[in-house]
Subunit: 248 residues, 2 copies
């Protein structure tokens, strides 16, 4: 079979943070598949490729469609915002591919991209310059107890945190609880930032502390960055210089 | 003053994983400053810019030189491999910029890039598809006790791990101790991978488990990826599908 599937991370938003490989994969594809807004994100690369726009919640169907089309001989790009390997489509798609008989499995490549944590970090300065954890706060696929167990461990360990999916219209109490957990383990004046629509139109940065954050400023399009034990405010920036102010 | 400083993440290696913004920043610079091998990494973008190659261990001098030249009116690109905000030059440079009087501080932008963890993850499949931590194992700037404290917390929490700076010619016992710590908190058959020179000539992937890893396969150019509680081997890939096999 001559088809292939590229699972492509488009970066956080505009074309400026897209890699050359991601651009080439979309341009070279015969079929471009993705959640509607992600397809829009690479609209500048569409020149007649067949486009399959999926809806939120239909990730499994998109993965299967992408695998089926590639196995049938098409060159397919399955596109995600950010990095498809970080809270994106790659893991699910590869797991489904692995379940296929080997002779029905197309050639697959994952094309990395600039994930939201890196885009937000760059906007803020360098808050992830020392050790950090990237966690999702969504309890859609794991029990809330798991989210809280992991969060507690990394908060207590003093790592900087990049928190994906911090809040949505239907998930609102979770962020309040997250702040409680963080305040149990970190100083109230720990700096943090809410970055909404990083590298997209309407990009917005809200700086606060664990004590002063207004949860209403956090949306489903936000990433929450919380400083670690080496994090500090330096001039206009949030930075984490390895070893700064850290006591063994 | 009309100068400016872009702190640029070039991505893991070849031009294919470099973003458009990183490429534009280097092309548009009058002065390109970086550790020698990083300057080589963007040699295809050099067209007569002044080039300042620094040595390992001279990061503070490079930061100061970049700030000084930008403050004097030059357009400067300070280049790093990967993402400059993740165990790169950004935090240190911004911290030094913040210490300058405001009127001696040039305009600064951090240009994000594909960090080694994302490049390695894409090569392996999607091992960072669920929550993960990115830690450096270097005890150059923090006490070893801090490295071990953080590692213990994230290992016990079941996160996937992307371990930067896992070993060098002079730091060899540390990786042995890291494996001991990981084995205390995770199953011996936990899958892992050593990715060396991701997206560079000589790229090499070594798959193993916590029980079978040969530390000699790990070099200063390697990144070590250890599966989290939701990580598993699926066909030829290492994947972490959120919630897969996780017990609260």
């Amino acid at each position: 079979m001559s088809g292939r599937l590229d699972i492509v991370g488009l970066g956080p938003g505009g074309a400026e943070h897209r890699t050359a490989a991601a651009t080439a994969a979309v341009i070279g594809a015969q079929v471009v598949i993705g959640y509607g807004p992600y397809v829009e994100q690479c609209a500048d690369l569409l020149h007649g490729q067949e486009v399959v726009r999926g809806a939120m919640g239909e990730e499994a169907q998109r993965a299967d469609e992408a695998l089926r089309r590639a196995a049938a001989g098409a060159r397919v790009a399955l596109v995600s915002s950010g990095d498809a390997g970080v809270h994106g489509m790659a893991a699910r798609t590869l797991a489904r591919a692995a379940a296929l008989p080997e002779d029905e499995r197309p050639a697959i490549e994952v094309v990395p991209g600039v994930t939201a944590a890196l885009a937000a970090g760059a906007l803020l300065g360098a808050p992830l310059g020392d050790d950090f954890a990237a966690l999702s706060l969504s309890d859609l696929h794991v029990a809330w107890e798991v989210v809280e167990r992991r969060l507690t461990a990394v908060a207590a360990a003093g790592l900087a945190l990049a928190l994906y999916n911090p809040r949505s219209r239907t998930r609102t109490w979770q962020l309040e609880r997250v702040l409680e957990v963080l305040r149990e383990h970190r100083d109230a004046d720990t700096p943090l930032a809410v970055v909404t629509d990083a590298a997209r139109p309407g990009e917005h940065v809200e700086r606060a502390t664990l004590a002063t954050l207004d949860p209403e400023t956090v949306t489903m399009r936000s990433l929450l960055v919380v400083a670690g034990e080496s994090g500090l405010v330096a001039g206009p920036w949030l930075v984490a210089e390895r070893g700064a102010g850290v006591v063994a």
